[in-house]
Point group: C2
Chain length 224, copies 2
């Protein structure tokens, strides 16, 4: 087991690198969104749909972390989203230094929004700041409504919670209200959206939220 | 980032504790099964159904790991399975020492089968031996067929792969054959079973596999 001291040191080093990234994204006026979920909750599908909706309106790109394979970056590029895959090998989460290195290699140019699709894992990525404006947690309706209280770290840190695969609601037992209530307990100011990339439910609200947050960030930067 | 040296030390210490546990389970004739999957893939639902099917035939118990809440142990006890919840706090996986301590507290008595329901996480639990006879990986059809190659650690270490929630196949895009092919590439001797706790598909095969493995273990112990 990792000692508390060793863990503290790792997080402190990461926080320092994240602070540098955050300053750089502030200066560039780039909104940065860190997406976290279990494997298969629909992060890549959401970003494919987001790429299509924002095409021609905003310059977006994605850094995507996986243990292995270039699959997600390939899917995102096919949807028109410039993407850089980080293959973490054994590592179960992205760290700020990894993001910095990937950015240096990717050469995305000036961006309105940078998405960071974290490794599919509800636990470890929650503790690592990556210079993001906010974290988004995705919970698919097939995973069960009991997950927020079982994974309080990420559900308390994410200011946006997307309940995904709403098209499957008729086929599973998932009480949206009960899940929402747990999320609200852990994060009273969380914004929740029910989404489906199959039916399109919630995608307008999600893209609207992104555009609104980008505008707020730029307005804040313009105020001396 | 954890250094390679620090990681090696943690795994070595764990392996030593796991070897002690393995010897103890061998002497007791207890089959030990470590279940690993993403959050919400159906580990607890499978064990609830297993408890009902094996009731009166075999003495089973479960040690269940979660970041927070006693929910899974409560569900399992309600299904007639003696269970001990390990609340890991921040830790993203179970370690052999944690299992040993939980066993000491649980006082399950003599067991035919001990299930270890690991923390919902496809990444970190894969590297930790817990004295088990084998690891079982669960992949629900809603997570997508591309997961084995994205999480090769667990899919190469688990000798049993359960494709869960088969009742949802008509409603999702999931190519069972493609998933099976990836699993077979990573683990040529893996036994794969398509299961559903809703329709009952595959549950007989799963329980049969458990009984067969228990018989094999006891036969091996009886041979001088």
């Amino acid at each position: 087991m990792l000692t508390t001291e060793a863990r503290r040191k790792i997080l402190e080093e990461n926080d320092a690198a994240a602070t540098e990234l955050r300053e750089r994204f502030r200066a560039a006026g780039t909104l940065v969104v860190d997406l976290i979920s279990s494997p298969g909750s629909g992060k890549t599908a959401l970003l494919e749909e987001t790429a299509r909706r924002l095409a021609g309106k905003l310059d977006c790109a994605t850094i995507v972390g996986d243990i292995a394979t270039e699959r997600d970056a390939d899917r995102l590029r096919a949807a028109g989203m410039p993407s850089r895959q980080i293959i973490t090998g054994g590592a179960c989460h992205l760290e700020a230094r990894t993001v910095r290195d990937a950015l240096a290699q990717a050469d995305f140019g000036e961006l309105d929004i940078l998405f960071i699709e974290n490794v599919g894992n509800l636990v470890c990525p929650a503790s690592f700041a990556l210079g993001e404006d906010f974290k988004v947690v995705l919970l698919s309706v097939t995973e069960g409504q009991d997950k927020p209280f079982k994974y309080p770290g990420i559900f308390s840190r994410a200011s946006v919670a997307l309940i995904t695969k709403s098209d499957l609601l008729p086929h599973v037992r998932f009480d949206v209200k009960a899940a929402g209530s747990e999320i609200e307990t852990l994060r009273p100011d969380a914004r929740m959206i029910l989404v489906s990339t199959v039916t399109g439910q919630g995608i307008d609200a999600w893209c609207g939220l992104l555009q609104e947050e980008l505008a707020k960030k730029r307005l804040a930067a313009a105020v001396p």
